[in-house]
Symmetry: C2
Subunit: 200 residues, 2 copies
């Protein structure tokens, strides 16, 4: 879903460029890994991708957005999945199903996710941005639960706990080698959360 190819017309190079966005992403990740995020310029990313800066800026507001544009897609997917959960599903089950759906989407791009995570881990300001992204996903999830009629503080608690489950499952997935897929790790982590809150 995130890897849909889009053909972009590069005015400066005077040709249609297949999957310009994906090429820019890949070039950016390579350069961030090689030189560091701070040391990489948009001009270098465009050059590595064989595209122009103008094309870069048609896809991304700045070099940081290359790493965080997926957050918006994730937010929409979570909100849509919560809204679409069976009417009588408990809030935690609606949130869990949404997080598993997000996990399936992320899992399709494991190598991208791993590269992205390494770049973020190497840069304090990107780590901050990632925390903000997670906090805003929790807010969106809470709002989607309130739209289903879940009251407060139940909606916020479910959303925050859900994002905690997601975060920990993601860390296990990205750090592991031969292990279960991300959706399964999310399910297992949610079960573990149920166990720990039950005092086990």
């Amino acid at each position: 879903m995130m890897s849909v190819a889009v053909i972009t017309y590069d005015r400066d190079m005077g040709r249609w460029e297949p999957n310009a966005r994906g090429r820019l992403e890949q070039a950016a990740l390579e350069l961030y890994a090689e030189r560091g995020f701070e040391q990489t310029t948009v001009a270098e990313i465009a050059e590595r991708a064989g595209l122009t800066e103008r094309t870069f800026f048609r896809h991304f507001a700045d070099k940081r957005e290359v790493l965080f544009a997926g957050g918006e897609i994730l937010r929409e997917l979570l909100v849509g999945a919560v809204a679409g959960a069976p009417e009588f599903a408990a809030p935690i089950e609606a949130a869990g199903a949404a997080l598993e759906a997000a996990g399936s989407m992320i899992q399709e791009r494991r190598e991208y996710s791993r590269q992205r995570q390494a770049v973020i881990a190497a840069n304090a300001s990107l780590q901050e941005r990632e925390l903000i992204k997670l906090a805003s996903l929790a807010s969106a999830l809470a709002e989607a639960l309130r739209q289903r009629g879940v009251g407060e503080p139940a909606a916020s608690l479910t959303a925050e706990a859900g994002i905690a489950v997601f975060k920990i499952a993601f860390e296990r997935w990205i750090g592991g080698t031969s292990q279960p897929g991300l959706p399964q790790l999310i399910r297992e982590s949610l079960d573990e959360l149920k166990a720990v809150t039950a005092g086990r």
Copy 2:
């Protein structure tokens, strides 16, 4: 506990100053509220407190630390309370007791907390810093649980869920008027988390 008076010798003014730290904090909060955090200088904070810049820098590394120095105290309190919980307490109960203890400490400084929260809410970079503080409290809590022999991912899940409970209880407490105290709101939020994860 956080309001212990300390007498500081102000070399430039050539006198001993009672509770210089508290006066600097209060002056800083007033100025941040009046002028905004970015627009306030350390010189202005010192002047408002009737102290010198040199004295300011003996207490705080910079003007941001005035708002975040308490995070370290909170971390130590949480870690100590988890370590001191009864040997057979379930992880979630050990974490809950620690968070209630933190809540008691914060509650002693309600007006300070309210002013601080208003300053943070008005500034995006301070909000980021607050998220980082919460994330580092969750890490410290997880480590304290592992020291008790709690495995992973149970320790991290308990810690993240605990910090989520704390955050939501704090928001309810700081936003409310005549309501229960913070420790009680933490207890209630933890009970609510137990209920939502149990699918209720």
